[in-house]
């Protein structure tokens, strides 16, 4: 099986400081990978480099495109990268207001990606939007409401619907459950888990919440000071951490 995403020696520096250094991994179709680490460990920098939001200073990010097979997304032209960004890729931001248009209705938010790839039939766009709102448990009669009238959890679910409507194959998530209370988090995780299984999505999830990766991720990468210090199957890393920092991270989780 060929990997969906192949990352090779990816580095990003902020002047003299390291953003992330020499990160390499493969991600296979249908696989969910978690990246954990403390604040400032470079996990968001890494994610933004992978998703094409930041230009990396070194390394390759090979993506298995539908048309031409493996392509390096770093050297790809900007229009091609943007096209990937609204078809095969999805990016779920930590703060829903970074990923949504707050002054556009929920339906318009979900429809934007469809219209960006050429959908020009209002009725079709609307019925797809209704379908997706249903799948993320937002009532159909809220379709013409602005996201600012939604609760935090609903905004996050709307953001997920907006991203998944074009049937992407790879989803980048940056702290998707951050800032939500635990019962809302649980519902959201449940939803994400369902969608990932149902659609056969591959995903890269950046989080500092070990419970989230325990539930969602097949594989885990632990970052510290811009470097990957440990990788492995999620259960293996969490139950038997080898690196001193991973041990600290796992033992720091509050036991209720």
């Amino acid at each position: 099986m060929t990997p969906l995403l192949q990352v090779d020696g990816l580095s990003k520096f902020y002047g003299q400081r390291i953003g992330c250094a020499d990160v390499s991994f493969d991600l296979y179709p249908g696989e969910v990978m978690g990246i954990v680490g403390e604040s400032g460990s470079g996990k968001s920098t890494l994610l933004n480099c992978l998703a094409g939001h930041l230009p990396p200073d070194a390394g390759r990010v090979m993506f298995d495109t539908r048309a031409e097979g493996m392509r390096d997304t770093v050297t790809m032209s900007e229009p091609e990268r943007r096209m990937l960004g609204r078809t095969d890729w999805a990016f779920v931001h930590q703060h829903a207001r970074d990923g949504l248009r707050m002054n556009v209705s929920a339906g318009g938010n979900v429809g934007e990606r469809l219209m960006a790839v050429g959908a020009r039939h209002y009725g079709d766009i609307r019925s797809q939007a209704i379908d997706w709102l249903g799948r993320v448990e937002i009532a159909e009669d809220r379709i013409d409401d602005r996201p600012r009238q939604f609760s935090g959890g609903m905004q996050q679910r709307l953001q997920i619907a907006r991203n998944l409507v074009t049937g992407p194959r790879l989803v980048f998530m940056d702290e998707p459950t951050g800032g939500l209370d635990v019962s809302v988090q649980a519902r959201l995780l449940d939803l994400l888990r369902g969608l990932v299984r149902e659609m056969g999505l591959s995903a890269i999830i950046v989080t500092h919440d070990l419970a989230v990766v325990r539930l969602l991720a097949d594989r885990l990468m632990v970052m510290k000071d811009g470097h990957v210090v440990e990788t492995g199957l999620t259960d293996q890393v969490l139950d038997d951490p080898q690196h001193a920092y991973s041990q600290l991270l796992v033992s720091s989780v509050l036991q209720v």
Binding site: R82, V104, G107, G108, G111, E112, M115, G123
Partner: protein, 289 residues
């Protein structure tokens, strides 16, 4: 003549503006930045249009100015006088006689020919402005043909009002490439954008010039199931009886009685001169008496 240089602007400035116009004509719909000058009128009163008119005008030109279709409003009269004084050109109110027509918010009803230039005054040249506030980002979107957002606006119109409610400054796609703001003309005028005259658009405050060469293919954006419709008030002109022209709605008394009449005053006048009389119109001879 006067102490002014011909058509007010100095020759270097006119060359600079002509270069921008040529570039605009070469890339239809693309907004060319230019070094807009201070003009003896406030921004928003047509400084962009005046500079473009000044740059294309020759001593032989016959100049006409229309403001919302009318030749006799303050803006139209003062711009016409401005060029009478600074360029000494002949001016006219007859669309057919003019060679350069500066317009605010209308396209004349009478079809233009390939000896004419239509100059638009543009307040906000960027069609994506109210959707994406960053100029850096909108220029990137134009460069990458990233126009999904434009349809989001039309989608929002339909979801809120049941139809595309944008009635003026209706966005168009030029030659299958750039999305362009046709200036705040009513969408009734959009189909006329494909014409045999050269069309130049000047935005003074925003410092942009763009252009449509003759016969450029201009398509109004829409949805398959909500096609573009060039709408107007469902009435005939009260003065000349025209049913094919864009109408102004006037409230004529305190009881709210309405009257509809051609917004293009020259069109209305010439129809009345030819003997057409509307429901509330009077034959031209009595009118003059």
């Amino acid at each position: 003549m006067t102490d002014y240089n011909f058509a007010y602007l100095d020759e270097q400035t006119k060359r600079m503006i002509r270069r921008a116009i040529l570039k605009g004509l070469a890339i239809p719909g693309y907004q060319v930045p230019f070094a807009s000058r201070e003009m003896p009128m406030p921004y928003g009163w047509g400084t962009g249009g005046v500079q473009v008119s000044a740059a294309v005008m020759t001593a032989d030109d016959v100049f006409k100015v229309i403001d919302q279709g009318a030749d006799d409003t303050t803006n139209a009269v003062s711009i016409r006088r401005f060029f009478e004084r600074t360029a000494g050109v002949e001016t006219t109110e007859a669309t057919g006689d003019a060679t350069v027509i500066q317009t605010r918010h209308r396209i004349p009803e009478e079809p233009l020919n390939d000896d004419q230039i239509l100059v638009y005054q543009v307040p906000i040249p960027e069609p994506l402005r109210f959707l994406e506030p960053s100029e850096v980002e909108t220029r990137k979107m134009h460069a990458l043909e990233d126009y999904g957002l434009m349809h989001v606006k039309l989608y929002e119109d339909i979801s809120a009002h049941g139809a595309i409610s944008t009635a003026y400054a209706y966005p168009v796609e030029v030659e299958g490439r750039y999305v362009m703001d046709p200036s705040p003309i009513p969408k009734f005028d959009n189909p006329k954008l494909t014409m045999s005259a050269i069309q130049l658009f000047g935005a003074g405050r925003e410092q942009r010039i763009y252009a449509l060469p003759p016969y450029t293919r201009v398509v109004s954006l829409d949805f398959e199931d909500y096609p573009f419709e060039a709408s107007k008030a469902e009435h005939a002109c009260a003065l000349c009886g025209a049913t094919d022209s864009y109408l102004d709605e006037l409230i004529v008394d305190d009881a709210g009685t309405r009257m509809f009449m051609c917004s293009d005053t020259d069109y209305c006048q010439s129809r009345r001169a030819a003997g057409h009389v509307g429901a509330q119109g009077t034959p031209v001879k009595e009118d003059a008496a």
